[in-house]
Symmetry: C2
Subunit: 228 residues, 2 copies
DNA sequence: GCAAGGTAGATAGTAATACTATCAAAATAG
DNA sequence: CTATTTTGATAGTATTACTATCTACCTTGC
């Protein structure tokens, strides 16, 4: 039995819903591959159109600009991750175990089907690591935020914060702990790959050592009492 | 008595040493103000030239491009911070106290002279928070890294890792702990300002609560034993 | 089978960006 | 005071990031 979990996206993320047409779906899927291959900065709608055998103008009918496409992809990823988290921690009682599952999800270690809905999750994960912060590190964060473009990220952070509070009721930094956990994992993964001397996970790149680091970091902060 | 601590920069960061001429110094100082005011993306060498009353071509004689200027500014900041760290922890014996000083430095809380060498440190600190990651989140990280452009950052991380190991000999993640500390502080500072629901430091923006969070995060991870 | 409405393809064009080149004027160094 | 370097001024190119328009096509509704 196959489940098709359709992720309904915020309408302000696009001009025309890309999941509503074949061309739109190809823009999203090929966009992921292009961003992954040549990076966000070097990507242009012209290059994407060429690779797809369509025209620049057609892509502009779906997305206002390249930045909005990035925000869309990243938002999709956070919604996917949030769903995965709910699904995989569904009938677990122990919040410790839930957070353990979360760590594996964030590192994308045990991924059964690398293609979901024809979306290349490894490529998308890479984009999130390398480019996601460019989605909010702009002058128009405030306006984008007002349009709810970052809601999926906030929802995920909220859900993680909830689990943190299950494990440690009264912990006063649940949201900050959640957002910093996500960002730290991605940063360290990027550094491990590109600037390994900023980490302790030198060659050979040791995903499991990175996991051990963030696990220790997370659980030690949740175990230690707060003294003021 | 005045000290002029001249920071000698890696020669690959520029085409002509900006500290070697009046025009060069103005490019750096006005560049900081421009990046701070309108952001890295919207800044151009033309706008910088206009604001300085000089010409685009003159700036290109100092810096290959806008990205290199950013890398220069960020590298300058890390060298400044590294010096400050050495200076302010000079005759301290207690590594705990050293790390405490570091936290204050990273947050730029107690800054006696906001202008060092005519460089606006508050503006530069802001740039580091909002734009520094764009210095390495590019396709040419590896090449830039080979040219030692990130050495100041690595040196700082190495020094912090050293203090961490004083406090906690044998801690296996000293470098990752150092780099994640820096990144976490900057991320949380950015979120507090722009996406406060990702933090627990809502309005009114509470710098001291952020400090309390990272302090707890840092020292709990260094206090907790590692179980494998 | 056909009209109406919408989607995509194709071409063109504009303003801004990210540079490069050149030459003369001005500053400075020996 | 001359030689060299630095800056100013102007110009030009390729690319980017769009916007506009028109035609072909493809539904679907009747």
């Amino acid at each position: 039995m196959e489940y098709s979990v359709h992720v309904r996206m915020n309408e302000r993320l696009f001009l025309r819903d890309p999941e509503g047409s074949e061309l739109g779906r190809r823009i999203v899927r090929q966009g992921i591959l292009l961003f992954d291959e040549i990076g966000f900065e070097d990507a242009t709608f012209r290059k994407l159109a060429d690779r797809m055998g369509t025209k620049e103008a057609s892509i502009y009918r779906y997305f206002e600009n390249k930045h909005r496409l990035l925000v869309y992809l990243v938002a999709w990823y956070w919604q996917w991750l949030d769903f995965q988290l709910v699904f995989r921690t569904n009938n677990l009682a122990d919040p410790h175990e839930k957070l353990e599952r979360l760590l594996h999800l964030l590192l994308l270690t045990d991924l059964e089907n690398p293609l979901t809905d024809d979306i290349d999750l490894r490529a998308l994960h890479n984009i999130v690591i390398c480019e996601a912060s460019k989605a909010y590190l702009t002058r128009h964060v405030t306006e984008d935020n007002r349009q709810q473009l970052f809601k999926p990220y906030k929802d995920l952070v909220g859900r993680i914060a909830g689990i943190i509070l299950e494990l440690r009721p009264g912990y006063p930094y649940a949201r900050s702990r959640a957002s910093s956990l996500i960002e730290t994992i991605h940063h360290q993964a990027f550094f491990m790959e590109n600037l390994p001397s900023l980490t302790d996970f030198g060659q050979p790149k040791d995903q499991s050592k990175l996991l051990a680091f963030v696990r220790h970091l997370l659980f030690s902060s949740l175990a230690m009492p707060i003294l003021d």
